[in-house]
Symmetry: C2
């Protein structure tokens, strides 16, 4: 037979194979026959469709145990909303667990017709959320970064989250053109005095919705492993009672921002505690428990998206 159309992209093929497999329930052999390709190729297309996120899988049932945890967290910390996903066991990646729920929460806001300013932090949780996001047209909103996008080595990888999300929803986006953490308070202030920076800062400060990850301040603190802190800075923060970090701003176990160390040189906008506007924290993992509890206490975040084991741990102590 003759394939008249040469105009199918590889991704099209992958999507079609994945569709036939997951929705149509066909075997890879049948797909191979249907599309006139070898079984191996069909298998690769199916794998690829999943890997590239062309196929979305969602759980459509609320586990009773998760619902219980949600209501307890809501009551204990006075949250607007809370979402607890089932854990994936010790082998599983907590980020993957919460990513789809976080994406759903974000979509909830994106679907609103009145224009919103949506501020975002960075980190693995945010990255996972954006990857799980379904592309949709939501140009009415503005996406703004809370945190500087200039990293110590000069790379702009932190730019990624805001750029990727803005790309998926075709919304205007505002990266924060300052260093994540400047060498001196003066240099940080100099950046923030620049008019373009001030405009982004104002936008972020008055955002209608905030999405952030939550960083732990233990040995494996993201800010340390990613090279934004030195070890001595971390120890200085420990001495001051550091419990966690949101958007680069370090707070103690009661959820109050510290006035020492890097906090005097951090660029961008801290997430103000106790406000009424939605502030969504996306975080899961055993090491983050204390950081999450502290952020909830002062209501730096008032919506929490986490997994079952983390939720249990957050509630168990305190």
């Amino acid at each position: 037979m003759s394939r008249a159309e040469p105009e199918t992209t590889p991704q099209d093929d992958a999507a079609r194979a994945g569709w036939l497999y997951y929705v149509g329930g066909m075997t890879q052999d049948q797909i191979a026959t249907e599309l006139g390709i070898s079984r191996q190729r069909a298998q690769r297309l199916v794998t690829r469709a999943m890997a590239e996120g062309l196929i979305h899988v969602r759980l459509n049932h609320r586990l009773q145990s998760c619902l219980d945890l949600e209501s307890e967290l809501r009551n204990r910390f006075g949250l607007i909303r809370c979402r607890v996903m089932p854990s994936l066991g010790q082998g599983g990646d907590p980020v993957a667990t919460v990513a789809s729920a976080a994406a759903a929460e974000l979509e909830r806001f994106l679907r609103q017709s009145e224009p919103l300013v949506i501020a975002l932090g960075t980190g693995r949780a945010m990255r996972g959320m954006v990857d799980a996001l379904t592309p949709m047209a939501a140009m009415q909103h503005r996406i703004v970064s809370l945190i500087g996008n200039i990293s110590p080595d000069g790379s702009a990888s932190f730019f990624d989250v805001v750029m990727r999300i803005a790309d998926k929803v075709r919304a205007p986006h505002y990266p924060m053109p300052v260093p994540v953490i400047s060498p001196t308070p003066e240099e940080n202030a100099a950046f923030h005095a620049l008019p373009p920076v001030r405009r982004v800062v104002d936008l972020a400060r008055n955002a209608d919705v905030v999405f952030v990850g939550v960083g732990q301040m233990s040995e494996d603190a993201p800010l340390l492993t990613d090279g934004f802190f030195t070890r001595s800075e971390l120890e200085e923060m420990w001495a001051a009672g550091a419990a966690g970090e949101v958007a680069g701003w370090v707070y103690d176990s009661s959820g109050s921002y510290l006035d020492v160390g890097t906090n005097r040189r951090t660029g961008g906008v801290p997430v103000a505690p106790g406000l009424a506007r939605p502030a969504v924290g996306v975080a899961a993992g055993a090491t983050k428990v204390n950081a999450i509890r502290a952020a909830l206490k002062s209501r730096i975040i008032n919506i929490l998206i986490t997994d079952e084991t983390t939720a249990t741990a957050v509630l168990s102590q305190s």
Copy 2:
């Protein structure tokens, strides 16, 4: 034996197993270990999670060929919107193909905050759509049936679609308490004269959105196989040029309702052609091609959700 927690339902277990399998990417063996059950049991739970619709799978990519068909259908028939899903090959069930897309379209309306009156027909396509619908709170809307729910044998199975959807979204619902087709025009008129019926009819007639399947009038007409038509009635309609049927009302190949046969005794509300409010037709399958084309011509429906082969066929003739 001792069951320590009596507080996990079988469905909870199935959902958890399905989550671990599809989202966590774990093997059924790992799940069995994780949950402390046998492999076979894990496998049964996973299967069940899928069968009961606890796991939703969606395609997150638009195939170029489908996009092309969509824009051509939109232009040709002046549609508001059109959605073409990839076909599942000759073995596949067309209803399964379009169900998830139809559900997504319905959810689009359900998510709107201003209250809507949503009118629905019946049939396999509607049933599939409702099954694929994600449960969500949308109490602001009212769900009303376009078609009678009393079938010839007295059963109320047609009630199902409206009831199920209302159950899933917790919205008030209004079944149409009249026979689908009455034995005589007089009896039909008598039913429609009843005040409670009139209220439902008024609601349906002024609905903000309409969702319907499209029935073919060939040998395998749903109205015939489901026992609402006799064969002689079908032949009478053929003689008058019957091409298809929407919500029980039969129209010819130009999409005009006929004034013969059962149309004089059909209960409920016909979908008025050519209106501006969205009227979504959900239909796929080779036998429905003519019925779909006719419904599009007079714009009984102005949004179409179908599959690739059907879309191609609808466009090929005419």
